[in-house]
Amino acid sequence: MQQGSNPGVVTVCAPEPVVIGVDALPALFSALRAWGYTVVGPTVRDGAIVLSELESAAELPYGWGVETEAGQYRVRRRSDTAAFGHSAGPQSWKNFLHPPRARMWSADRTADAVTVSGAGEQPRYALLGVRPCDVRAIGVLDRVLSHGQHADAVYSGRRDGAFVIAVECTEPGATCFCASMGCGPDAQSGYDLALTELVDGDDHRFVARSGTEAGARLLAQLPQRPADDATVHKAQAAVKRAATEMGRAMPEVDLPRLMTESRESPHWDDVASRCLTCGNCTMVCPTCFCTATEDVTDLTGDHAERWSVWDSCFSLDFTGMHGGEVRVSGQSRYRQWISHKLGTWHEQFGSSGCVGCGRCIVWCPVGIDITQEAAALAALRPPSVLDAAGGETADAEAVGIKED
């Protein structure tokens, strides 16, 4: 798990894939719990497939899928018993690794001194069912919160302790576009264990491969059989086919350059006429990391705590300083969000901030679609920006393809 936690460490692992039956999932839960992990995975609740701490494999959403569109999300019954036959829901793994509220420190004051204790020990999560796009999103958060000049103790503590079980994507949703961001549907790195789910009537199994030593050790504890070529090919073909079935695609343009050259585009007025500046897109985005802080005291005034809470660049006071806010208009706030996500993120953290999961499209109350807005901006730009295949900057990185 240590290796999987750190994309800076090259994991040399060429494990032979094995096949585990769906009846191995309880054993997977038992093994993870015996290792001290709290398992987090998908389950059906409140009409959605949410991510939650799970007690047992029985809580997985067997036979449930989802239908998504811009501004729409519905769970639906599947014709099979797939446990991971759904695209992204309203949460992402950042809810657990970079929680909405976290205590950064607490302090006690006496007459002559202040004693401070830091964030302390963090929970150890096994993340089960992480889509390849979301594996990439965790890598993006790593670069922001762990691998910069300073490491965020809450995130780094949780991340270092996490065990990542990816499940490759074989049925992308209508709002998915990870293939065009180079972030899926196959899992390439950043996981301890990767599964590909295959369901043929009663024959419900997973092709499993480890990405780390810890993953290999876990796999060794599960009932399994060697993977035959036909099963492996079937799994690979399903993932390959998924790449062609994405409901959306990000336009193939030099996105950072497009964003820079669109800073004064008339299109921001058009977006702002629809955008409610509610910030939903930032809450559901698996890489949006912005936080504010809250200092609180008890009634004595001598015990103080600082809490980190999610914030959004769509809120007015996000840029509030003495003298007023910097980004007052809705135009400027949407521009900040999409320009950061697709453009300036590269300069700040060395990759795109978008992994193509489609959550922002689904959970936007008015159905604003990041791929369509990028296309609209591109349509208003000179041809040079559109020359993705040509220019120096129009390399893999420009469309978000970046190895962890």
Binding site: V116, C290, D311, Q331
Partner: protein, 292 residues
């Protein structure tokens, strides 16, 4: 298994956790501005460079970014690679800064840092230094002037242009006089002269022409309201000072200082990391776009 010592060290290394410094002196500079000197307790922070900033915590109230206005009474680093003493000049404009300004000697203030980029004084060796300050912007510029005075022979002219809203808002008036006596060419202007004001009236850029910086050997350090910095930089460009030799100190909201909170973005810059000091060749376009 983590030992207690390791845990304690890890906690010390956590840049989110403030260390508490004792207020050793407090001086009221103006009706709303206070300069305080802070002394490290057990574990000092790393040494600050002029232009870098701290996150200052008022216990139970909150935290704000405040630039270093001096390294303590000695003016030097006090011996060693640690910030044993820090000076901060704080203007009371909100709940946290009001609380910080109200501190008394002996009280404890939380400090994190040093954060951000400093003034690049090394690139100015052999040049005339042109320091342009607007209002509280003089505070972050004070350490760069003091550093230049400590090492006087390496620089040409030292020119300090100060703009304030009114004579009552003028920071460090005694020090301005002392610097003048040490050969700094100091010029002051105010927007609204009070009774008895004999000096210049007008924007700080009006002091530029008389100061007449030589374009080819000038490095400029500017801190003040954004509009003032833009006008000052444009005036310097008109005098043919190269944009990469114009350094400005930019300000945005900051919650962490460490690159995690996302608030201080200005286009591609995270100002807590890539700033606050930025050369004007990078900053000018970003400062031009409205609401960026």
């Amino acid at each position: 298994m983590t030992t207690l010592t390791e845990a304690a060290e890890a906690e010390h290394a956590d840049p989110a956790v403030p260390r508490f410094y004792r207020v050793v002196s407090r001086r009221e500079d103006t009706y709303d501005t206070v300069t305080m000197e802070l002394a490290a307790q057990a574990d000092p922070l790393p040494l600050f460079a002029p232009g870098q900033f701290s996150m200052l915590t008022a216990f139970g109230i909150g935290e704000v970014p405040i630039s270093l206005s001096g390294l303590g009474s000695s003016g030097g680093d006090g011996g060693g690679p640690a910030a044993l003493r820090l000076q901060h000049t704080v203007r009371a404009v909100g709940a946290v800064t009001r609380s910080l300004c109200a501190v008394r000697p002996g009280q404890l203030i939380g400090v994190r840092g040093p954060f951000g980029t400093g003034w690049d004084l090394a690139s100015a060796i052999g040049h005339d230094l042109l320091i342009i300050a607007g209002g509280i912007g003089l505070a972050p510029l004070r350490p760069v002037l003091l550093a230049a005075l400590e090492d006087r022979s390496r620089y040409g002219r030292l020119v300090l242009l100060v703009g304030a809203r009114s004579p009552a808002d003028l920071l460090y008036p005694d020090e301005l006089e002392a610097w003048r006596e040490r050969g700094v060419e100091v010029a002051v202007t105010v927007d609204r002269p009070g009774e008895g004001w004999q000096g210049n009236v007008g924007v700080v850029t009006s002091l530029l022409e008389p100061a007449a910086p030589g374009a080819n050997q000038t490095t400029a350090f500017i801190c003040g309201p954004e509009i003032m910095m833009r006008y000052a930089a444009q005036a310097l460009i008109a005098l043919e000072v190269p944009t990469q030799r114009i350094q400005v100190s930019l300000e945005r909201t900051m919650r962490c200082g460490a690159g995690w909170c996302g608030h201080c973005q200005l286009g591609p810059l995270l100002l807590c990391r890539d700033g606050p000091v930025v050369t004007y060749d990078r900053a000018s376009e970003l400062m031009r776009i409205r609401e960026l």
